[in-house]
Amino acid sequence: MTAAADADPGPAPAAARIACLHLPLFPLAARLRAEPELAREALAVVDGNGNAARVVAANRLARGAGVKPGQTLPQARALCPKLVARPGDAACERAAQEALLEVAERFSPRVEDAGDGVAYLDVEGIDRHFGKDGTPPELDLGRSLAAAAEAAGLPARVGIASSKLASRIAAGLPDSPVIVPAGEEAAFLAPLPLSRLTPEIDLAATLERWGVRSIGDFARLPAKRVASRLGKSGRDLHATSRGLDPRPLVPREPPPAFHEGMSLEWPLVSLEPFLFVGRAALERLCQRLESCGLACTRLELNLRLEPDGHQTRSLDLPAPTRDVKTLLTLVRLDLEATPPGAPVAAFAFLAHPDRPREAQLSLYGPAALSPDKLATALARLFALLGPDRVGSPQPVDGHRPERFALVPYAPPPPPETRREPRTGRGLLAVRVLRPPVALEVITEDAGETGEPAPPVEIRALVSEEEKKRLRIDGRVKVASGPWGLEEGWWTDDPAGRDYWDVELAGGGLYRLYRDRATGEWFADGVYD
């Protein structure tokens, strides 16, 4: 084949600039993100069980002792007796991949998820925001990307080029970040071995027979003839070798929820150890939410139980929050209330995000509550008291005073200018007794009129201890009534009552009523 005569220049390289974030030794990096304390140990991630487990990735300490991927665990332990082995963890890897994508999304809205610790992002045009201090803009961008990933616990390498393959290969080189100038992708790729293109095995064997060793050798072959001999896969590979992407960057859809979790080395049976590892996961989760400007509005906890079985719990929050302490308290209370009932082998938190509450400050009006602080406080109060004991009170239709509604607390913004306080009405309020206290009542003789007779003496029908507390006992000094209340006669829960305001001789102003249906007496309020 005479390459020079039939050389096809092909289409011009695309003008887009693509950055690649690449996590070397991805399973290891994901595990170290979840357990950063293992960074000081000789660590290997293994695949398989028992003596058949094989090393997938090892950190520098382990590699220094001679541990290599592919070795069995006994072999690795023979070389490095203090080797810490961890199985590959899909939950950790998934969370690390999501975190990597979120780092990329901080820089560009167009991010492609390439899986296994690789993310591509379209950086065309955003380099103008970098390089203010004389550093080349793309180099500054690359360093910023690497620093952002490092801050998220991901030691990523960065490569920037005009094609995905070139940027991916650039990201695989040491001395990150590596910048491939636009239009020089083919020259950058040419000296690299062909294996960098990761061709299919058959294709690799054919090219080996042809004597093609480097990417440059392959790129110099005429495109049409490569296509006629190697088919579609050969044509795509040839385009790639010339720095052209056969497939454009496909931006991902942001996931609806944030996921963070891990498989545990051994199943946990008590709460405190679980909360210890759960706290670290929640911290990572809240860090990710914060980096995206979001907060958690509902937290799901998925537990994998030993020997088998799954459990899912959902914790609704009164307002979006990303306070780790609050979320952990809610998880603790939920687990204490309903224990899983079996050892926990793996867990995953799923945070459903929402925009945190925001408030516009006023120069002249009263200060508004800080939305963040309020959300955190409400979540803590929910955890402390329960959701049915925190909120904004609302009256309900009807006249029964013991009834009320509780709605989520969301105060309106304060007025723009400060109002002058009004003079109070000086209203005598009633302290409601919930539930109403049953009474034994002696009334006046009603005679033959049939009118409700006023009470003359009352006694609470409660335990002696409660009687001492309530002290609704004694002779009635003044009684005013009856004031009729009738509602819901068309429903299954009708109310017909005759109300009396009474002053006891021993002191105390009470509101009593007699149930018309049963004739029973109750005290349902104290004037206070």
């Binding site: 200060a367 904004s392 009320f404 109002r419 000086g426 209203l427 302290r431």
Partner: protein
């Protein structure tokens, strides 16, 4: 002001010349670490005035309470309102909540007695949308809830302990001190309404509401109608004011005809003035270190 050691020195204007040298002499004999913590009553009073100017009080729209507390509930302080049942304690709490929410600020009610009737609160003028209602089951939960509410930045947190006895006891004094410190840290007014004294030394001011005298209308041929109640608020303790001052409080029911006048109980006879503490004209000679107990 934290950590200052108050001295029993007369702060009258006539004694200013005598006081200043006395404090100076005392400071001179104290170790250097303690010297800065010694303040005269005059200096304490000045610091309190400056603090009041920095944090204006929160008006309650209850004339009696505002008058006794010099304008309203002091911000960054704990005020305890003590009153037995039917003393107007809960009505006063609602009035304070109504005044605060009425000007557009948020407020929290920690209702240990679970006695709030939203319809009655609405009638009292409380803006329910701005009111956070917390219904703890015991005192421990109530204290924790109040502290969380203070931390959230509510300018007024009212803690009503319900009818006696308080569920969960009186609480340890350290808990009340912690709550008062939290109010101080966040600049919030904390009103504790209790059937008996609970907050100990943590309260800046303690007011007692007498048992209310019911005011009935009608009688004879017409049915009786509860028109309202009259009570009296008395200062039991106030940092900066002599105790014993009192003011009448009139409370009317919603059904009370407009224009009805409720006679408040007369003020008790004024107590005899307390003897003024003597000025330390001469400070004792500092004791020699030798001879201390081993």
């Amino acid at each position: 002001m934290a950590g200052a050691l108050p001295l029993a020195l007369d702060t009258g204007p006539d004694d200013a010349a005598a006081t200043a040298p006395a404090v100076g002499r005392l400071r001179a004999v104290l170790p250097a670490d303690f010297r800065g913590r010694v303040q005269s009553a005059r200096e304490l009073a000045r610091a309190r005035r400056e603090e009041a100017a920095e944090h204006p009080p929160l008006p309650t729209a209850v004339p009696a309470l505002d008058r006794l507390l010099a304008g309203g509930l002091p911000r960054a302080h704990l005020v305890e309102l003590v009153g037995a049942r039917s003393s107007g304690r809960f009505s006063t709490v609602l009035a304070a909540l109504a005044a605060t929410t009425g000007v557009g600020e948020a407020a929290a009610l920690v209702d240990l007695g679970d006695g709030l009737d939203p319809a009655a609160a609405l009638a009292a003028g409380v803006d329910l949308a701005r009111l956070l209602w917390l219904r703890p089951a015991d005192l421990q939960g109530a204290l924790a809830s109040a502290e969380i509410a203070l931390g959230a930045g509510f300018p007024l947190v009212a803690l009503d302990l319900g009818p006696p006895p308080v569920r969960g006891g009186r609480g340890i004094e350290a808990a009340w001190l912690r709550l008062a410190r939290s109010a101080r840290a966040h600049g919030a007014a904390l009103l504790v309404a209790s059937p008996y004294r609970v907050s100990g030394t943590a309260a800046t001011a303690v007011l007692r509401a007498d048992r209310a005298r019911a005011v009935w209308q009608g009688g004879g041929a017409t049915p009786w109608l509860l028109g309202g109640a009259a009570t009296r608020l008395t200062i039991e303790k106030h940092r900066g004011t002599l105790p014993g001052q009192s003011a009448g409080l009139e409370l009317k029911t919603a059904e009370c005809p407009p224009g009805t006048r409720i006679q408040t109980p007369a003020a008790p006879a004024a107590a005899a003035p307390r003897p003024r503490p003597a000025v330390w004209e001469e400070l004792p000679e500092p004791r020699r270190a030798a001879g201390g107990r081993r």
